[in-house]
Amino acid sequence: MPMAVDVDGVSKTYVTDGVKTPALNAVSLSVGEAEFVGICGPSGSGKSTLLSLIGGLERPDRGQITVFGQDLGALSDSQLIDFRKRHIGFVFQDFYFLEVLSVRKNVALPLRLRRLSRRQIRDSVDTALDLVGLGHVADKRTRYLSGGEKQRAAIARAFIANPGLIICDEPTGQLDRVNARQVLDLLRALSDRGTTVVMVTHDLVAADACDRVILLDKGRVEPAPRQQAHA
């Protein structure tokens, strides 16, 4: 199976005010194409750090990260931005919208970076919003959405430009069971359509929805990850 993500011997240590915090220590893992992988582990185990490295938001101190065959370390900062734009979608725990803009405009942002007509953008956004069940709030400001609505909008924003890889940091962390379920179903649907999904989660239900779960502890991958076959 061709690998979507390949993490090889990656370490990352943060230094703030002279204090060194090792976040990741020689982590190696890989994620297959169209795989839906969960990353679990206690707080502070380096999950968010791992995601930011895979997503090219930060660079590792050591080791190599390859996404869709591209060694991220070989890219300049602006090439990295470009790579992100074309291949990676992000869903954060805290949503992160431009708050005073409408849902529609927020979701459209990634498309603004492409040569598309207004009409094309509008159609894509409408389709995406219908898919996540937010057609009725398209013109509301994101600031006024409920938590579950926000997270679904964030997912729409993440997949609207058809990235090969979607990275989610605890997308269900702030949601109730029903909303969490909706979000997981959406991610599952994306994975079924061929998108690779890497999701950090605390939540057992969420972990259950994944094809496979990778356990992280104190910056290391646990040797015996829980395998789970998914129907």
Binding site: L57, E58, S78, I81, R84, Y96, F97, L101, K105
Partner: protein, 380 residues
Amino acid sequence: MLDLIANSLRRTWLRTVLMIAASTMCFLLFGLLGTVFLSLNKSVTGDDSGRVITVNRINIQQPLPVRYADEIARTEGVADVSLGVWFGGYTEQPGQQFPAFPVRGAPYLALYPEIAVDPAGRARWLDERRGVLVEQRLADEEGWQVGDAVVVNSLIWPQQDGSKAWSFTVSGIYRDDSPFGARTLLMHYDAFNEARRFGTDTVAWLVFDLAPGADVADVARRIDDRYLNSGNATRTQSEEVYQQAYLNQFGNLSQIVMILAAAGFLTSFLVLANAQALTLKERARDYAVLLTLGFRRATLALAAVGETLLTVGIGAVIGLSVAWAYIVWQPIDLGSFLPDIDFHGEVLWAALPILLLLAVLASAAPLASTFRLQIMESLR
């Protein structure tokens, strides 16, 4: 791009309004002060008349004997000589003076070709001892017509009977568009001199043209040297230098105006920079999100500058419009002996670099953050 700007502006209305207000103040000040500044400078540098002025060396308020006029007229290199006295004229309110001067008629009109009077009016005035020539704007204001008998009060000069209300006949009306020309009034020195109660045979200044080929410095030195030990020493200088000295009486207005404008600019900048600082944290988060989505830092930087430029620009338009309206509807009166203040197009041109500078300075902080920002730290 517009959406990014709109987002940032609408996120915190208060900040946006504050920024527009600060910039409005800046450009309002700039528009008003710049206009005053330009008017002052224009009146000095604006005309190269070639005229030379002789005044008392001690200061320009001290009088000179009238006989100097004839002596100077005989000096080599000097052509037409006239003289002038401050009359301090007003009709109703002493506070609303207009520049009225007793002069020697024929040489004065020769010296000031900018005084555009028709030949009939000119002839009539030179004929009428108690006649006055009135600048058109003053005549319009007072509703005076040629032939009217008018009374002009003097702030300074009583007549023999003690009355400061002088009667004249309007001999002619002229137009003078030079910087000091508006609302002027000319009367005959000889008639004035005989009628006044004190100060007889003195003048405030002498004004003359140089004969062709004569050099200002040379003529001035010869005149001033002659009177150096006379008790009424003179200072002779070109009209431009004289006007500058005259304006300097008012406490070097240009400099004060410049300092005020600079202070206004600085204050506005501080307010703007402060307003920007207020939202730096939220802004960093937005930038981090946009960077994550694949926006380039340069795009964000452009949006940051564009946003400031927009707010500062709106302020500039409002401020300059108000300044313009103010000057047009409510002319600034710096006293009757200062030149008229007009709104100059140059003020607008000068405002442009100021606008850019203010915008760039005020967007320095967000600009820096677009380039330095670390995504993960800003999302924490």
